[in-house]
Symmetry: C2
Subunit: 316 residues, 2 copies
């Protein structure tokens, strides 16, 4: 059974740890958002690729969510405190830095992002096939109205990390996406998958960019009967992150049913948390299969149970 998962960062990382307990890892292809990719101090940083890699490799910091466990931040502290370097608001750990230095050096040597990702995954012993959504640059841009009433455009990490998502979001655009091609393997994996899962990631800035890569939304929509998603909204707010700040800009209600409605043309099934069971009827009315389960992934066993529910719904 070939499984494809669309993934953002931390939520996806946790979910995928469960997925590889439910199906053989070699049958899993993960297509990862690269809309948050950015240059920090000249280094190519791929936050979502790295989060998923670290989670699947078992080296993620479970408490903090992002980055490596046992991490230190000496180089970044030096860049911030001594050099007052632009971009040092982005906390690159010393171990994490090795990944960015290695990736940047491969890219500078002519490797594509797919090739660099494969090399990084191999070194971490990641058991699944991890693909960036595209080898071309796509940058999620957040058009905001700041506290002072000024319209400013931030890239996603600036908006999220540097500004703490405090600005009113007017619009979200994926700069470069029209020219981007799906990375090698992406379209084939989607065409031939027995199940396609949308990880419980931010629908706007994690899954949104992947679906916006030309061709991707169409093939998923055509295969919607084998597609199931896991709601990242539980009890009316995001399990993690700030999707509630972004969904309204797309006119999406911040609820499990609201996100299901947003995805209705690309999914056949929708997994919600038990606390949202009351919304099941409304979701079924969208002509979607629904399952309600415990979706809070406090450990791998819970993530596995959640993955099994999603897989069942995808292949129902």
């Amino acid at each position: 059974m070939k499984v494809v998962a669309l993934a953002g960062g931390v939520g996806a990382g946790k979910f995928l740890r469960g997925l590889v307990r439910a199906v053989p890892a070699q049958d899993v292809t993960v297509i990862v958002n690269t809309g948050d990719d950015l240059r920090v101090h000249g280094l190519h940083v791929s936050p979502d690729l790295d989060s998923v890699t670290y989670w699947l490799a078992g080296v993620a910091d479970r408490e903090r969510g992002w980055g490596r466990e046992g991490e230190t931040f000496r180089a970044t502290a030096e860049l911030r405190d001594r050099f007052e370097a632009e971009g040092s608001w982005f906390g690159l750990g010393d171990l994490d830095l090795a990944t960015h230095v290695f990736r940047t050096s491969l890219l500078a040597g002519g490797a594509t992002l797919s090739e660099a990702t494969a090399r990084v995954c191999e070194r971490f012993g990641v058991p699944v096939r991890l693909l960036p959504m595209s080898d071309e640059r796509v940058t999620t841009m957040i058009h905001t109205l700041t506290e002072d009433g000024v319209q400013v455009v931030f890239d996603f990490q600036q908006y999220w990390v540097q500004r703490g998502a405090r600005d009113d979001v007017k619009e979200i655009l994926f700069d470069g996406v029209e020219e981007a091609k799906p990375a090698p393997g992406v379209m084939h994996a989607l065409h031939s998958a027995d199940a396609i899962l949308l990880c419980p990631s931010n629908p706007v800035v994690s899954i949104g960019p992947i679906l916006a890569v030309p061709g991707v939304r169409r093939v998923i929509a055509r295969r919607k009967e084998v597609v199931a998603g896991v709601s990242p909204i539980v009890g009316g707010s995001p399990v993690r992150g700030m999707a509630d700040r972004l969904l309204p800009a797309w006119g999406v209600e911040v609820s499990a049913a609201g996100v299901a409605e947003h995805y209705r043309d690309v999914i056949g099934g929708w997994v919600i948390d038990v606390v949202d069971e009351a919304q099941a009827e409304r979701i079924r009315a969208l002509d979607l299969r629904v399952a309600a389960t415990d979706s809070i992934m406090t450990d791998d066993a819970k993530a596995e149970a959640l993955a099994r529910v999603a897989l069942e719904l995808a292949s129902a």
Copy 2:
């Protein structure tokens, strides 16, 4: 009294700490070898500029000689052990890495090496004016005969750090030096200096590249009466490093007098260690002024005393 010093790495760093106790730091210009500069993981590393910066800023590791005190090597260990990255034989500390990342990012943004160096020095509060010998790339190449009898060309850091200077040196070439121009300020500083000092650095691979930059040797030779050098050879061997492996390739005797002879067209005075006092006559016979003193810089006070002797000899 305007003083210019020609500098390599660690020996120069120690000496310059003494020099800035002997004369006001704002009157000191240091011209630093960049022939050892290299790209490590895509980062621009300037070993001698950094050594001198760290020593003058008081953040050098006195025990190890190179790098920062209280340094850790987590990113490099990761690059070596996990990524098996090319170049990870070069030990970049985590704090040190911040310098290279900052410099590389300035250079990528269009800054010259001089400009990047000024920014780094400013952030470290280095009190002297530190100039790279040139803003253009010059690479010291060591032509060797390996243990297996094979002729191989290494850049200096490969020869020195990776190969541990174990190969027989046939020739030393400064690749790119014919096209290189002295960095802005270098020629003016040399023309207007009241004293020019050659730090106790490696004559072949530290002072050699600086003298090889077109125009530099000529102006120093013309001003030789105000030039004094400090012998890096004490008792027939280098105080630090492996100059004894390199001097013979240039036909230079590994002794205080041998190096004085090598420098005779560019110096007016030569400072030797008291243990080499017997060679004073031979050096005077080269038409050079000589002073014998304790040249082992175990602390800043000793470095200061040595700097005072050199200054006196330069302006005698």
